[in-house]
């Protein structure tokens, strides 16, 4: 049981680090925002395996849901503004 948890957490950790680096280095903004949403979701799984269900629920609701949505709505507002300026 312990070795299974260890393998799963190590795999998730590698995926999280790769998506963090991808979020910073990518040229398109929607890809970066989705990568940070994926990081929050995998962090919620981490919190569950570390025996804290309260924190997992909070991170899943606020990190993976509301923060990603907030980034997208601000991105839309700034794109609108830029395209108006270039007209």
């Amino acid at each position: 049981m312990e070795i299974f948890k260890l393998i799963m957490l190590s795999t998730l950790a590698v995926v999280m680090i790769i998506s963090a680096v991808m979020a910073i280095l990518s040229k398109e903004m929607p890809l970066a925002i989705l990568a940070s949403g994926a990081i929050s979701l995998l962090a919620s799984i981490f919190f569950l395996v570390l025996a804290s269900p309260d924190v997992a629920m909070t991170e899943a609701a606020i990190g993976a849901g509301l923060t990603t949505f907030l980034f997208f709505i601000i991105l839309r507002k700034t794109e609108q503004n830029k395209s108006e300026h270039e007209k």
């Binding site: 309260d54 606020i62 509301l66 507002k77």
Partner: protein
Amino acid sequence: MLVLLFGIFLFQILRLYHTQETLNPTAAYYNTNTPSEVGAANVVTAIVVTYRGLDTLGEVTVLFLTAMILGYILRQGGREKTEKDTTSEILITAAKVLIPGSIVLGVYVFINGHLTPGGGFQGGAIIGTAITLMILADPLHSLRAALLHFVESMSGFFYIVIGLAGLIFAGGFLDNRILPAGQLGDLFSAGAIPLIYSLIGLKVGTEISSIISNINETGNNTVKL
């Protein structure tokens, strides 16, 4: 270069860390005395609402200040003339099913905060997400801002009133022994914890909704800061 220095600092923490085997005395006290003193089955809820209730008051203040500042800054831009966007049919149909279910789930989560994992902040975030879906699915349907402000202010006001009632009737500020602590595991147990957490949940939900609706309706006038 700064990152390298910070990395060395963190590595030193890693070297000195060893996995604990027994609880340290603070955690042992919280774990053994919560069912008898507070009567809640969820120890984390008991810590957040009663033992460290003043920190929760600070957090509620920070959220309230954030919502107020954003409302002030975004009103200066003027209201945007919303033209009719064509939202997709799938979104409108799915929203009709998902929104009532999400609101009921959010209310369930913050009412049962002292029995199962959950509580005010989680339930408030779920309600905020449901109202955000409502804004997305129907852009012309402007939320009644007066209702949101009324619910938010009343929740904050009653939170302080319950805290002061704890000061008058029982041990200290935000004490939960003003209501009887029933059987461990019942819905109406643990004193005033369900009431306090419900108010916090409503407050957080309406704050998040008002932030999103303000961002959505702001215009493009540049403000003279």
